[in-house]
């Protein structure tokens, strides 16, 4: 804007701000595309009413897939998680895959980065390694109806 009056100090202020922003975005980009640190997602779909009859969600459970690796296939539904009790040894990596047969839910484990939205019709996937022992709370963090605050589960890391 050549017409605009902009003092030198403002130019410096904006240059510092703009440069910080640029560095910040580069860091985010490296984390995402260089180191694969992406939020939960995935493009697989499923018919909501067929969840209980479609593999693997007809029998949702935790299965060991290798040394220290597990797959947690879970259904988030009004107002519970299936399964709602999981137990793994410390240091395990868990690959979550979730869907919902009814409304939108969430799966959140406080004090970890497991923070997943569960959308009917879609399958959400996310992988996380549990480095500390503990009794972790699993809770639904997206309003799903009258029993939302009762929707919970537990994850024991031993």
């Amino acid at each position: 804007m050549s017409h605009a009056y902009m003092p030198r100090s403002e130019k410096i202020w904006l240059a510092i701000g703009g440069f910080s922003l640029f560095v910040f975005l580069v860091v985010l980009g490296i984390l995402a595309f260089g180191m694969g640190m992406n939020p939960p997602g995935h493009m697989r779909t499923i018919a909501p009413e067929a969840v209980h009859t479609t593999s693997p969600f007809q029998e949702p459970k935790l299965v060991q897939t290798g040394p220290n690796t597990y797959k947690a296939t879970m259904v988030a539904q009004m107002f519970s998680f299936v399964p709602n009790e999981l137990s793994i040894p410390v240091g395990s990596t868990v690959h979550f895959e979730l869907t919902s047969p009814d409304v939108v839910h969430g799966l959140f484990i406080p004090n970890t980065n497991v923070n997943i939205m569960v959308i009917p019709g879609h399958i959400t996937e996310f992988t996380y390694t549990f480095h500390s022992k503990g009794d972790y709370l699993i809770l639904c963090h997206e309003y799903c109806g009258a029993g939302h605050h009762l929707m919970m589960g537990r994850l024991l890391v031993q």
Binding site: M1, H3, A4, Y5, M6, E10, W13, L14, G17, L21, F24, L25, L28, G29, L31, A32, F33, N38, P39, P40, G41, M43, R44, T45, I46, A47, P48, E49, M78, D102, V103, V104, G106, F108, P110, N111, N113, N115, M117, I119, P120, G121, H122, I123, T124, D135, Y136, L137, L139, C140, H141, E142, Y143, C144, G145, A146, H148, H149, M152, R154
Partner: protein, 561 residues
């Protein structure tokens, strides 16, 4: 059409509202205050329920109260207040009155919004719409709720037409002149609003209404969420821009200074239009059905608003410093003490600005792709938007109401009312500091937002939340008390404050004459709208195409409350 009342017969230098404009503006403000009262009552009750202070009497649901709180505060109070404020500034800066045709559109829009609000409120109060103000499908509310929402949106479009008509007429009569800054910014606010509400209008009219009436069985859930957040993020800028107008245009006059620049604020508003709309995915980072590339692209576009935000911060504080130095301040920060701290029109606004600094920083955290994982859907987010909308914006609106309400009613802001206003805004500041700080911390400790009181079978994690819940509840009580005080002062200023024989002071800052005129290209709205549409198409075409083409079988509606 009546002429402006001029009791002294020579008021050409001063300002009196045309009586027809006054009625229209007061109708908007009055309705917004009713919404504020309802929203505050629901807000207090739900806050005390979720923090364990009270149990609700039979029949009232926590989520029902939370829906009222969100709808009344975020959608209704804000929209009505903003239209009232912008109309008043347009009347002042575009020749003294609104055009009769604009006034007509304003009234039609007003009644549509009122009827829509009453329909929505009815559906919520009868417990047929406990779906919160985001109304995520496939939770299915009563069609009355969705039709009410549609009326509010369409009504607001007619209201925006009133803004455009006044502006267009002024431009026609003042060719090759830059429009007054207030009017320019009002147009920018409405351009942003009209472009972003198209998303929620498509969602409500083409998806939710036919589905809730049973004309279609299923809904594309992810698509509906995408339409919603295409609207939901610029919505926060729709709240913020009128507050910025007050900071840029009115505050300089109140503190005895000049508008810092007549051009740069216009550039910032254009940047806010461009970069607040194609960014809704940063509310959907944690969900499936959108590929990482598009999420990341929208994160980058989101962060661009850092630039106009920094420009705004600079301009506001530069204005303050210049005023302080003109009044004889010395040293690096001496100007700070020269500001009119005992003037509620400034004091409340300044507290809001102070809140906005951590609020902006928190917003960067929320939108930053990986970090969102730590805070998404926790009370951190609730804490965040309570220091944006419910501090920076609403404290500015308090300040506006304290002079605009008496000005419209031909009354004066008395020293006593000003003092009570200082107490009220101070109380709000303390209450909000306590509540939002507690919410931010307990969010990091894992407490989810939008959740009724729960102890999760006495899980040990919950024990760490107890103290923060207590302070959240205390903060909510202070905030409610402050709201009641605000409404009492406003009622006094509306109805009982001493009448003023002088034409009212409507604070509008003057631009510094030494600066060049703003370039005319800034008034070429077709260009800015086209650029916005282009950015929207870049950010949304492919992912929306994927959502439709690779859609799962849709979801039938469910009433889960």
């Amino acid at each position: 059409m009546s002429l402006p009342a001029r009791e002294d017969g020579k008021a050409s230098q001063s300002f009196r509202f045309d009586v027809s404009d006054r009625t229209l503006i007061l109708a908007h403000l009055g309705f917004s205050f009713i919404a504020l009262l309802l929203g505050a009552i629901a807000g207090l009750l739900q806050a005390l329920q979720r923090t364990g202070f009270i149990t609700l009497p039979g029949g009232i649901g926590y989520y029902q109260l939370l829906t009222i709180h969100g709808v009344m505060m975020a959608l209704i109070f804000t929209t009505f207040f903003i239209f009232g404020f912008l109309y008043s500034g347009l009347a002042k800066t575009l020749g003294g009155t609104l055009l009769p045709s604009a006034r007509l559109y304003g009234w039609i829009g007003y009644y549509m919004m009122v009827i829509g609000t009453l329909m929505g409120a009815w559906a919520i109060l009868t417990n047929d719409a406990s779906v919160l103000y985001t109304f995520y499908a496939p939770m299915k509310a009563s069609p009355i709720f969705y039709i009410g929402l549609a009326l509010v949106v369409v009504g607001s479009w007619l209201g925006s037409l009133a803004v455009f008509i006044n502006y267009a007429r002024w431009r026609k009569n003042h060719r090759d002149q830059a429009s007054p800054l207030f009017a320019y910014m009002s147009v920018a606010t409405m351009v942003l609003w009209d472009i972003c509400t198209i998303g929620v209008a498509i969602e409500v009219v083409f998806q939710l209404i036919p589905w809730s009436l049973g004309w279609v069985d299923r809904i594309n859930v992810e698509l509906s969420r995408t339409y919603f957040w295409y609207f939901g993020h610029p919505l926060v800028y729709f709240w913020l821009l009128p507050a910025y107008i007050y900071w840029y245009v009115n505050i300089p006059h109140i503190i005895g200074g000049k508008i810092f620049s007549n051009s740069l604020p216009r550039v910032t508003f254009i940047l806010f239009i461009l970069y607040s709309i194609p960014v809704g995915f940063h509310h959907q980072l944690m969900e499936p059905g959108i590929s990482n590339f598009w999420k990341f692209l929208q994160v980058v576009l989101t962060m661009t608003v850092v630039i106009p935000s920094l420009m705004t911060a600079y301009a506001i504080f530069a204005t303050f410093e210049l005023v302080g130095r003109k009044k004889g301040a010395t040293g690096l920060f001496g100007w700070f003490r020269k500001l009119p701290w005992s003037d509620v029109r400034f004091f409340s606004t300044f507290l809001g600005m102070a809140f906005f600094i951590p609020a902006g920083a928190g917003g960067v955290v929320n939108a930053s792709y990986q970090l969102n994982q730590v805070v998404h859907n926790t009370l951190w987010v609730t804490g965040h938007f309570h220091i944006t909308i419910a501090a920076a914006v609403i404290m500015t609106f308090f300040a506006i109401a304290y002079w605009l309400v008496p000005a419209l009613n031909g009354r004066t802001l008395t020293p006593a009312a000003n003092r009570f206003g200082l107490i009220q805004s101070g109380l709000w500041g303390i209450g909000m500091f306590i509540m939002s700080t507690s919410m931010h911390i307990v969010g990091l400790l894992g407490e989810p937002r939008r959740t009724a009181y729960t102890v999760y079978n006495d899980h040990p994690v919950v024990a760490a939340w107890a103290g923060y819940r207590f302070f959240t509840g205390i903060g909510s009580i202070l905030l409610f008390t402050s709201t009641v005080l605000f409404l009492a002062i406003v009622a006094y200023l509306w109805r009982w404050a001493p009448r003023s024989n002088q034409p009212v002071e409507y604070p509008i800052g003057q631009a510094d004459d030494r600066h060049p005129q703003p370039p005319m290209i800034l008034e070429r709205w077709s260009l800015w709208v086209a650029l916005t549409v282009l950015l929207v198409l870049i950010a949304y075409t492919m992912p929306v195409y994927d959502m439709i083409r690779h859609a799962p079988p849709g979801s039938p509606g469910i009433r889960s409350w």
